[in-house]
């Protein structure tokens, strides 16, 4: 009752503050900025917030808040465009959306997928804000109840989603996930700082590989290359089918799924330290597990869009809890948000809830309002924008290469970013070709450092507690929350394995000759063994135990697969190879010829710097590969370069320099 007495007036005050024309204007401005930044894959909330941060100082607090919140709120909404239309995960929050969203776009149902996604986002956002309003006053004990063992348990729950996404052969899914986990350990170990599969001679590797690059490499590069080879439009020349109204109806028909996934989003968002990257996978896994007819998933089932999208916007609301109550950012963009609050004169933390409850509620409900405005705009845009899928893909591809290279470069601003993107892209192409689950790889990668740190920490603290007494230790590791989540994890693995066989994650793949699949498996085995040996040579137990364990599991899985390969006949599903038949097998252009275009862009960048390389690349591509006239080639090239420069200069970013720039000083954007 007490809480209600304090909450109601503050809530009223908050609404009075938000519903001023000036504040709404700033909110809409923030939403528009967030939308424009969010559609660029790999940029997202951090880039957007950094953009407005310089103006925060001296701004009227409520306007500043409205601007920032508007921006943060719509990023998980707008990143859906790239995920659905191009198969490019716009941010870590919409990776799972790609799985069903993009196949829908390929069926000509882009508008429907987008609208369903936005309706779900809108609902998730509103749901998050509503829950948050009540929760924020009493959330403190809830958040404190989630210690390291609980977070480890949730991380395992996330990993258990591999089971349902493993594809036809569960062992292949396990191996792919292990490879993802291993790639996630590259660089300095979190605990003791030992180097794994890296050396100080290549400083790039010591920081490990960033999620943006892995997301782009694993999903975007293979899709772009594959589409480019077929020389069609994304929607395969077919007419655009069901429109946005159908999408909204789809959401309504699955409203209970949406509610459940929004709850998942809020709960996971509330826990600091987990980050948002796991939310959409848990939601997607839940969606598949609870669906009666699972046959359509991975081929364009609208429920696969509704689930993750309902959860990722709800997560933003949940993520505000640790941010505001403890002053601990739940994500990168929240960290900048706290910084922005500081510039406005507010301190995120326990005092803010007590002293500035009205401001707190302003944040919460600005978030809700921004969701409404953002999702509304996006639904309105989804019809026209989905026409992009009818454009001949050869004309889109060079711009996509440009965008993903630029996005990848933002992660470390080093040429190494582009090299890594290419390498991971190549891996993605082969995982896709031989039907190894790419989601399983990505889940492994995303959860790698969390799984390692949480298990190290939980082990260390638990040992410490057990030394004090058996009961103290047990109380710590076997709390009701931990037991509950572990049970859920087991159920999810069992259910997942039972159903995954009927559910090829990315559509059926025909089996072909033995040679290529065996070579790829041997390469994976070679890397896994190398990583295992590399880990075994590390002195610190804390830094070696995780890669050793994961490596061992991976090696066992791969060897078992190898044995099966030696025994099985050529038509066994283990020899799945997309080059045999289907879209890729019948494609007009070869894989290597197409890939070398992308490779050429990267090599040219390392020589001439990005912008000069891009000019050469665009104009040759349009002229030779797309067969356009010189005039049209030049026109499109100029448009691309101008767009790129505009984005970079607005966000105050540089381009990758090449060898040439070492010798000659050039003005921006060439430097």
């Amino acid at each position: 009752m007490d809480t209600l007495v304090t909450a109601l007036p503050a809530l009223q005050e908050a609404f009075a503050l938000i519903l001023q024309p000036a504040q709404i204007m700033y909110l809409v401005l923030g939403v528009l900025l967030g939308l424009s930044v969010g559609v660029f894959p790999g940029l997202g909330g951090i880039a957007g917030l950094s953009l407005v941060l310089p103006f925060m100082f001296g701004m009227d607090p409520v306007s500043g808040l409205a601007l920032m919140v508007g921006l943060v709120a719509v990023v998980p909404t707008s990143d859906t465009f790239a995920s659905v239309l191009m198969g490019i995960p716009g941010s870590s929050a919409s990776q799972a959306t790609v799985l069903d969203g993009f196949p829908m776009a390929r069926k000509g149902e882009a508008a429907r997928a987008l609208a369903a996604a936005f309706a779900s986002s809108l609902f998730g956002g509103l749901f998050g804000a509503t829950v948050l309003t009540g929760l924020i006053l009493v959330a403190r004990p809830l958040v404190l109840a989630f210690g390291t063992p609980e977070m480890l348990a949730i991380t395992l729950l996330g990993l258990s989603m591999v089971a349902i996404l493993a594809g036809t052969l569960p062992l292949k899914g396990v191996a792919a996930a292990c490879l993802g986990l291993l790639v996630g350990t590259i660089g300095e170990a979190g605990a003791g700082g030992s180097l794994r599969m890296a050396t100080y001679d290549i400083p790039y590797l010591t920081d490990g590989i960033k999620l943006v690059i892995v997301g782009l490499g694993i999903f975007a590069v293979p899709e772009i290359i594959s589409l480019l080879r077929q020389d069609q439009s994304i929607a395969r020349g077919s007419q655009l089918g069901a429109g946005w109204a159908q999408g909204v109806r789809d959401w309504f028909e699955n409203r209970w799924l949406s509610v459940r996934c929004a709850v998942i989003g809020v709960v996971v968002g509330v826990i600091p330290g987990l980050g948002g990257s796991v939310v959409d996978w848990i939601a997607y896994g839940h969606t598949v597990q609870t669906a009666k007819d699972k046959s359509g998933f991975g081929k364009g089932d609208v429920r696969g869009v509704v689930g993750p999208e309902s959860s990722n916007n709800a997560k933003e609301g949940g993520g505000l809890v640790p941010t505001l109550i403890f002053g601990i950012p739940g994500s990168g963009s929240m960290a900048i948000f706290i910084g922005g609050l500081g510039l406005l004169g507010f301190n995120a933390g326990p005092q803010m809830i007590q002293n500035d409850l009205d401001v707190t509620y302003t944040v919460v409900w600005s978030l809700a309002l921004a969701n409404v405005v953002g999702a509304g705009l996006c639904i309105a845009l989804s019809g026209p924008i989905s026409r992009l899928t009818t454009i001949r893909f050869t004309l889109l591809a060079p711009f996509l290469f440009m965008m993903i290279s630029f996005a990848a470069f933002q992660s470390r601003q080093s040429l190494g970013d582009l090299v890594t993107l290419f390498a991971i892209g190549l891996l993605g192409i082969f995982l896709r070709r031989f039907d190894w689950s790419r989601p399983a790889f990505l889940i492994g990668f995303v959860l790698s450092s969390q799984a390692e740190n949480f298990s190290n920490n939980a082990h260390q603290i638990a040992t410490f507690k057990f030394r004090k007494g058996m009961d103290v230790g047990l109380e710590y590791v076997a709390s009701p929350i931990v037991i509950g989540i572990v049970v859920l994890t087991i159920i999810s693995v069992v259910l997942g394995l039972r159903h995954s066989k009927q559910m090829p994650t990315e559509g059926p793949v025909v089996s072909g000759k033995k040679r290529a699949p065996v070579i790829f498996l041997l390469l994976m085995l070679a890397y896994t063994v190398t990583a295992w040996i590399n880990a075994a040579l590390i002195d610190l137990t804390s830094d070696k135990i995780f890669p050793l364990t994961v490596g061992t599991v991976g090696i066992i899985a791969l060897v078992l697969l190898l044995i099966r390969m030696m025994r099985a006949p050529e038509d066994d599903p283990i020899f799945a190879d997309r080059e045999t038949a289907g879209d890729d097998g019948d494609a007009a252009h070869g894989l290597w010829a197409t890939l070398s275009w992308f490779g050429a862009l990267l090599v040219l960048s390392s020589l001439l710097g990005f912008i000069l390389a891009l000019m050469l690349f665009l104009i040759t591509f349009f002229r030779i590969r797309a067969g356009l006239s010189w005039a049209r080639s030049a026109l499109l090239t100029a448009a691309g370069i101008a767009g790129m420069c505009f984005v970079a200069s607005t966000l105050n970013r540089d381009f990758p320099p090449g060898l040439l720039q070492e010798f000659i000083d050039m003005p921006w954007p060439f430097k």
Binding site: T148, G193, I328
Partner: protein
Amino acid sequence: MNTKNTALAASVALACSLTGSAALSLDLTGKTVDFVIPFSETGGSARWANFYAPLLSEALPGNPTVVVKYMPGAGSTKGANWFQSQDYSDSEGTLIFGSSGSTQFPYLLDDPRVKYEYGDWNVVLASGTGGVAFLPPDLAGKMNGLDATGLQDTDFIWGSQGATRLDLVPLLGWEMLGMSVEPVFGIKGRGDGRLMFERGEANIDYQTSAAYLKSVVPLVEAGHAVPLMTWGALDADGNIVRDPTFPDIPTFKEICEATPSCETSGDAWEAWKAFFIAGFPVQKMVFLPQGADQDAIDTYTAAFNEVTARADFKELSENTLGVYPQMTGDTAQSMLKLGTEVPAEAKDFVKKWLLDTYGVSLK
């Protein structure tokens, strides 16, 4: 509680503006100044730089736009190595670099990635900070006045970011007091460490001043935490004195003096002091690239003086920076020396201690 600081800042500002007020010719009208920090958008350095950027823009001649540029990587050594490759003539006053304790520690510990040399750069601002260690109330009761001997038979567990980071200072300090503190390495930030303390997973913690004021003081008021000690502050002669932000909390030095097993002389003490200075009172600095002329240095010094002399500076900085001294001119120069020049014995002691205690070596 921070009038002393303001007075100090004001007097330093005055002194510097008197010496450096000769005709300045650097004019940045219409230019953009890049304030490069070797960290990502999300850290404390980003907050510090974003706080100064708009103020600096107002104070520099010609009111250039000051934008913060992030160049994270390799524990901040990537950005610092890049800055080392810059010459003043490349940018003519449109480039400044913000370094932090995380940039200084690898430099002091001879990290193989370090290719930069602080002595080449030109410091125009040095920002300090402090830190406070705290305990749960039941354990704090084991202190006998300032004597920490009573804590020696307790097992402590602590969430730490890593032994080679800023956390080196408290770890070494606690060990000198004879306390057995087991660090849980690999947490992402000091905020996560505090959360572990609040959840009862850890039973000791420290926070930098701003974070302590913001998030731990409410815990202390609610009876969930008791401050143990501050790391202290430096006076003008380089002596460790009480932290002006927390005049009522004893310093590590005082506790060490009162605890029989701890000594304020010898290798361990010298090493602790050297790394404490690099990590706290001289934590963040702003530099012009090598080769900068006196005119540019004076211009930036004057600008920072103008910023810190603003009537509303105290109020503005309290939220973002905490109540730390902001030093320019000769004071910053001597702070740079204190923070980046460490006796070889102290370095060797710390390197050996890291290897023996935590198996960590930087090779």
